[in-house]
């Protein structure tokens, strides 16, 4: 059995990701390997490239260099005239994206659909799950994130915290292999942060593989198995939460941790 775990491909692997906006190089070669069950927090000051990196992983952003693999399957990429890399295979990328949950800072629920419709949309349209089954699964998920009573409400009628929990339920409905969180609590009023972090914490305890870009330092420390500190488009520090928070080798990371206590 031990040898089995070694032969399993990593859940998500990214090699040498480069990204530039115009002449500004935002990512200068970032590599990351996430094994099943790992929770990796990505920290750094704004402009360090952490959100861009996360968005490159499911090609919401087109990187200029690099390799990405999900569960050992390489993303098929082609180069555009402007030098950026986009998917070379529309069928493959939609399939891979369906297995990578992405939670946005601004929730991005579809406002013309009810919460339940938001959650069943992708299972029904993309996974071709029978509607009845999708509804049953969606109701269980809404129960899990604590907003079952809001199933027939529209997103505009919910608080920010409720909307983000609905967005997490929408992501979970696709039964993704990896979950990517892009500053999930940054757009929330302070009193709503905890309810969202509780949900994310529950997912971590289930053993889900997650990448988390956040400014919630204490939460990152508690929930993560590994922490990355990004600075100026590079990984400046990487290790266990205790090491990165208490004993970082990099002066910049030390300074960042001191100012975010």
């Amino acid at each position: 059995m031990i040898t089995m775990t070694h032969t399993l491909p990593p859940a998500l692997q990214a090699d040498n990701i480069h990204k530039r906006f115009g002449s500004l190089e935002v990512l200068k070669g970032i590599s990351l390997t996430a094994h099943d069950g790992e929770v990796i927090s990505i920290l750094g000051s704004s402009g360090s490239g952490k959100s861009t990196f996360l968005r490159c992983l499911n090609l919401l952003e087109a990187p200029h260099e690099g390799r990405i693999a999900l569960g050992g399957e390489d993303f098929k990429l082609k180069r555009l005239k402007d030098g950026s890399l986009v998917s070379a295979d529309p069928r493959q990328i939609t399939r891979l994206r369906a297995s990578m949950g992405f939670v946005f800072q601004s929730f991005n629920l579809w406002p013309h659909m009810t919460i339940l419709e938001n959650v069943i949309e992708a299972p029904v349209m993309v996974r071709k799950t029978p509607r009845k089954q999708a509804v049953a699964e969606a109701e269980a998920l809404l129960e899990k994130v604590g907003i079952a009573d809001k199933r027939n409400a529209y997103p505009g009628h919910l608080s920010g915290g409720q909307q983000q929990r609905a967005a997490i339920a929408r992501t979970l409905a696709m039964q993704p292999r990896v979950l990517l969180f892009d500053e999930p609590t940054s757009a929330l009023d302070p009193e709503m942060v905890a309810e969202v972090l509780n949900v994310i914490n529950g997912l971590a305890e289930e053993g889900r593989t997650m990448l988390l870009v956040t400014h919630e330092m204490r939460f990152a420390r508690n929930v993560s198995t590994r922490v990355l500190f990004l600075h100026d488009g590079r990984i400046e520090e990487e290790g266990t939460p205790d090491k990165v928070f208490d004993d970082p080798a990099s002066p910049r990371c030390r300074q960042f941790m001191a100012s975010h206590r």
Binding site: L96, F104, E121, V126, H157
Partner: protein, 232 residues
């Protein structure tokens, strides 16, 4: 000056048949224009320049020239080509002022609706599209399930405005012999020499029609945009 209500009452049935034709022209050209506008508007909002070019030309022409000129071009212009006069498929329609008016009005309004649609498509927040991309929806699914339903809701008030403008534009169909509301009013005036009474009555008919249209669109808006009601 005396005001003769009797002449209005006597000729009201005639005006009503004109009004029915007006409503028919506006409703059918509104639907025809809408159907035409979808491919034009979607192509117009494409990021590829060569896809955008043709709808751009179409919109440039139909917004840049008067509806009256377009009506004349279809009604008088097309019949100059003997190929059209001898076409068994086209001539039965193009010799008929009713069809000419419908064609010109549909094509004209399609240009405006396409621009409304383009604006509405571009007004859909990027994040909602990214959310659809991120769950693995294909381009076609995103268009059908997210973009178009959102754009229809965003563009509906502007579209209702365009239909009202078309209602008034339909008066031009009287210039190619159609006896819609304005055409009928002028015919009655030619017989009665009572322009004030008859034009007032015709104006009242236009008001009534536009009132009903506004109410209908308001109802549609309330149903389609119920997610905005009491929104935070």
């Amino acid at each position: 000056m005396s005001f003769d209500t009797g002449v209005i009452l006597d000729n009201f049935p005639k005006l009503l048949t004109g009004a029915v034709l007006t409503v028919q022209l506006v409703a059918l050209s509104g639907l025809g224009g809408l159907a035409l506008a979808f491919p034009i508007g979607i192509a117009r909002s494409s990021r590829r320049p060569w896809v955008r070019a043709l709808p751009w030309c179409y919109i440039f022409f139909f917004r840049g020239t008067p509806l009256l000129v377009q009506l004349f071009l279809v009604y008088y212009g097309l019949s100059q080509f003997s190929a059209i006069r001898h076409s068994e498929l086209l001539w039965p329609y193009l010799r008929d002022p009713y069809w000419c008016a419908l064609i010109a009005m549909s094509m004209n309004t399609a240009a405006y609706i396409a621009e409304i649609l383009r604006g509405a498509l571009q007004a859909v927040p990027r994040g909602e599209i990214e959310a659809a991309i991120a769950v693995g929806m294909s381009k076609g699914q995103i268009l059908r399930r997210i973009l178009v339903p959102r754009a229809v809701r965003i563009g509906l008030p502007a579209y209702s405005n365009e239909v009202i403008l078309m209602l008034k534009g339909s008066a031009l169909a009287s210039t190619i012999t159609l006896l819609e509301l304005t055409g009928m009013a002028r015919t009655i005036i030619a017989e009665t020499y009572m322009p004030v009474e008859i034009f007032l009555a015709a104006g009242a008919c236009y008001l009534a029609i536009s009132f009903l249209m506004v109410r209908t669109f308001k109802l549609a808006e309330n149903i389609l945009n119920r997610h905005l009601r009491h929104a935070r």
